[in-house]
C-alpha cells in the first residue's frame, strides 16, 4: 500500500489546469513555476518514505 505514495507526483503534475495560474506568487515566481519546482523535493521525500518502509519490511 505504501507504494501508492509513488502515484502522488503523477496525480499532482498531470492535473495541469489546477496549477496553470499566476497567483499566488512566491519570490517573484508565478504559481505555475514554484508549484512544479516544489514537486521535485516532495517527490524525493515520498520516494524516501517508501524506501524506508520497504527496507524495514525487508
Amino acid at each position: 500500500m505504501i507504494r501508492l505514495l509513488l502515484l502522488l507526483p503523477f496525480i499532482g503534475l498531470m492535473i495541469v489546469p489546477f496549477y496553470n495560474i499566476r497567483e499566488p506568487h512566491l519570490f517573484g515566481f508565478p504559481f505555475f513555476y514554484w508549484y512544479q519546482l516544489a514537486w521535485v523535493p516532495l517527490t524525493s521525500l515520498l520516494t524516501y518514505i517508501v524506501y524506508r518502509r520497504l527496507r524495514r519490511a525487508g
Binding site: F10, V16, G28, V40, T47
Partner: protein, 496 residues
C-alpha cells in the same frame, strides 16, 4: 579560424578539454578489472558502480548538453509550454524506483547486457529480440547527433568557426571510448556535472541580480510574448493536454533508451538504483532553473539569430569572458558523456542481439568486446557524418521519431517483469503496429509530436508517441486473446 576568438575564454575551454581527454584515457585503469576484453567490463564498467558513480553517470547521460541548449531555447521561443521537461523529469523517478530494480535483478542474475537480452530471456523470441534491439539502435543514432549540435553551438559561441573543431573533439571522444569503454564517461561525468552545477548556480544567482530579480524576469518575458503575439508564461487552454501527455510519454520513454538502461545495468544493485531515484531529482531542480535562462534572455533584451543561442549569448553578455569559456566548456564536455554512453549502449545492442545471434553465435567474450568497440566507433562516425552532411532539421525530426519508436519497446521490456500472460507474437504485433502507426501519424502531421483527435468532446491534441503506445498495447492484448482462444494452433507452432 581564430580571428574572433577571445583568448581568455579559449584558454579556459582548451585547458578543461585537455584535462577531460586525459581522464578519458586514464579511465581504462580506473577500478581496473583483470581484463577489459569482456563486454561486462567494457560495456558496463563491471556492473559495480555504487550510488555516487551511478548518480553522476545517469545524471550525466540523461541531462545532456542538448538539454542545456534546447530547453532554455524552447522556453525562450514559446514560454510555459517549454517547461514540460520539468514534470517529465519528476515523474520519471517514481517509475525508475518501481521498475528498474526489478529489471536490474533479472539482468544481473542471467548476465544480460541489453534490453534485447532481457526480452530474449523472457520470451525466447529472436524476432522480438531483434525488434527491440533494432529500435534501440535506430532511436539512439539521432540522439547522438543532437549532442553534436549542442557541442557545435558551444564551440561556435567560443568564436571558433568551421567544422574542424567539432571533428577533432569527436575523434578524441571516439578514441578514448574505444579504449576505456563505459569507464571513460563515468569518470568524465564527475567533472562535467560539477562544471554544469557551477555554471547553473552562478547563472541563477547572478543573472537575476543583474536583471532586477525573478519577478522582473517573468514580467519581461510576459511582455515579450504579448508583443510577439504568441507564447506566454502560462499555458493556453489548447496546450494543457499536450503538456501533460508530452511529460508522461517522455517519462515512460526515458529509461527505455539504451544509454539510460546502460547506466542502470552498470550499477551495483537494486538498492543503488532506488537511492538514485531519490537523489537524481537534484538534477531536475537544476533543469527547472536552467529553463528559466530562456526568460532571462528576454529580460536581457537579447537579439538572437537562432533560439539555440540564448544560453551562450546570455553568458557572453553578462559574464567575464573566462567564465563564459568555462560555461561553453561545460556544455561541450556535457555532450561527450551522453554521446559516449549512447554509442556504448547501441554497440552493446548490436553485438549481443545482432552479431551474436545472426552472424557469429560462437563469439567469445573477448570477441564480443571487440565487436562492440568497433561498432561504437562506427555509430559515432555515422552521427558525425549525419551532422556534417545533412540539414540539422533532419536530426531533430529523427530524434522526435526516435522517442516515439523507443516508447514502443516498453510493453516487450516491462510487461514480462510482472505478468506471464503476453506471448511474444502478441507483443511483436503490438510493437509493429505501434511503430508503423505512430510513425505514419507523425509523418502525416508534418513531423510534429502532437496528433489531434476527437473523442466526441471537441478536438484534443495528444503526444503521438503515447497514442501509438496505447495502440500498441491494445493490439498486443487483442492478438494475445485471439491466440489463447486457439491453443491447439499455438501449441503446434511452439513445438515446431
Amino acid at each position: 579560424m581564430l580571428a574572433n576568438v577571445d583568448s581568455a575564454a579559449f584558454a579556459v575551454f582548451l585547458a578543461l578539454f585537455i584535462l577531460v581527454t586525459g581522464m578519458g584515457f586514464v579511465a581504462s585503469r580506473w577500478r581496473k578489472p583483470e581484463t577489459l576484453a569482456h563486454l561486462d567490463e567494457w560495456g558496463l564498467g563491471g556492473r559495480k558502480f555504487g550510488t555516487w558513480i551511478t548518480w553522476f553517470l545517469v545524471g550525466g547521460d540523461f541531462y545532456t548538453a542538448y538539454t542545456v541548449i534546447a530547453v532554455p531555447a524552447l522556453v525562450y521561443a514559446v514560454g510555459a509550454y517549454g517547461f514540460f521537461a520539468l514534470p517529465y523529469t519528476i515523474i520519471v523517478y517514481p517509475f525508475v524506483f518501481a521498475v528498474m530494480p526489478v529489471l536490474w535483478k533479472v539482468a544481473k542474475e542471467r548476465g544480460y547486457v541489453t534490453a534485447g537480452d532481457v526480452v530474449r530471456g523472457a520470451y525466447g523470441s529472436r524476432g522480438l529480440e531483434l525488434a527491440v534491439a533494432a529500435t534501440g539502435v535506430l532511436a539512439t543514432m539521432p540522439y547522438i547527433a543532437l549532442q553534436l549540435i549542442g557541442m557545435e553551438v558551444a564551440i561556435k559561441a567560443l568564436g571558433l568557426h568551421g567544422e574542424i573543431p567539432l571533428v577533432l573533439a569527436f575523434l578524441v571522444l571516439a578514441l578514448y571510448t574505444y579504449s576505456s569503454g563505459l569507464r571513460a564517461p563515468a569518470l568524465i561525468a564527475f567533472v562535467k556535472d560539477i562544471m554544469i552545477y557551477i555554471v547553473v548556480i552562478a547563472a541563477i544567482a547572478i543573472v537575476p541580480s543583474k536583471l532586477g530579480g525573478y519577478g522582473a524576469i517573468f514580467t519581461a518575458a510576459d511582455a515579450a510574448f504579448a508583443a510577439k503575439g504568441s507564447g506566454g508564461i502560462l499555458l493556453s487552454p489548447a496546450q494543457i493536454v499536450p503538456y501533460a501527455s508530452l511529460a508522461l510519454g517522455s517519462a515512460l520513454a526515458a529509461f527505455m533508451y539504451p544509454h539510460t538502461l546502460t547506466g542502470i545495468f552498470a550499477s551495483s544493485g537494486g538498492n543503488t538504483i532506488r537511492k538514485n531515484a531519490m537523489l537524481l531529482p537534484a538534477y531536475t531542480l537544476l533543469l527547472g532553473l536552467l529553463a528559466l535562462l530562456g526568460y532571462m534572455g528576454h529580460a536581457a533584451g537579447l537579439k538572437l539569430a537562432s533560439n539555440n543561442d540564448v544560453v551562450p549569448e546570455l553568458f557572453k553578455s553578462l559574464f567575464p569572458s573566462w567564465f563564459a569559456g568555462f560555461a561553453f566548456a561545460a556544455i561541450a564536455i556535457g555532450a561527450l558523456v551522453p554521446a559516449a554512453v549512447m554509442s556504448i549502449g547501441a554497440a552493446n545492442l548490436f553485438t549481443r542481439n545482432f552479431w551474436k545471434v545472426w552472424v557469429d553465435p560462437k563469439v567469445t567474450p573477448a570477441g564480443e568486446a571487440k565487436v562492440a568497440k568497433i561498432t561504437s566507433m562506427l555509430v559515432k562516425v555515422g552521427a558525425l557524418l549525419a551532422i556534417l552532411l545533412m540539414p540539422t532539421q533532419f536530426a531533430l525530426d529523427l530524434q522526435l521519431l526516435g522517442g516515439l519508436w523507443i516508447l514502443q519497446t516498453l510493453p516487450a521490456l516491462v510487461f514480462g517483469l510482472y505478468l506471464n500472460w503476453f506471448s511474444s507474437t502478441a507483443l511483436l504485433a503490438g510493437w509493429a503496429v505501434g511503430l508503423a502507426g505512430g510513425s505514419w501519424l507523425a509523418w502525416s502531421d508534418g513531423l510534429k509530436p502532437l496528433h489531434t483527435i476527437d473523442f466526441g468532446m471537441g478536438p484534443v491534441a495528444l503526444y503521438t508517441g503515447l497514442l501509438a503506445l496505447a495502440l500498441n498495447i491494445v493490439v498486443a492484448v487483442v492478438v494475445n486473446l485471439v491466440l489463447k482462444r486457439a491453443p491447439q494452433e499455438r501449441l503446434s507452432r511452439e513445438a515446431a
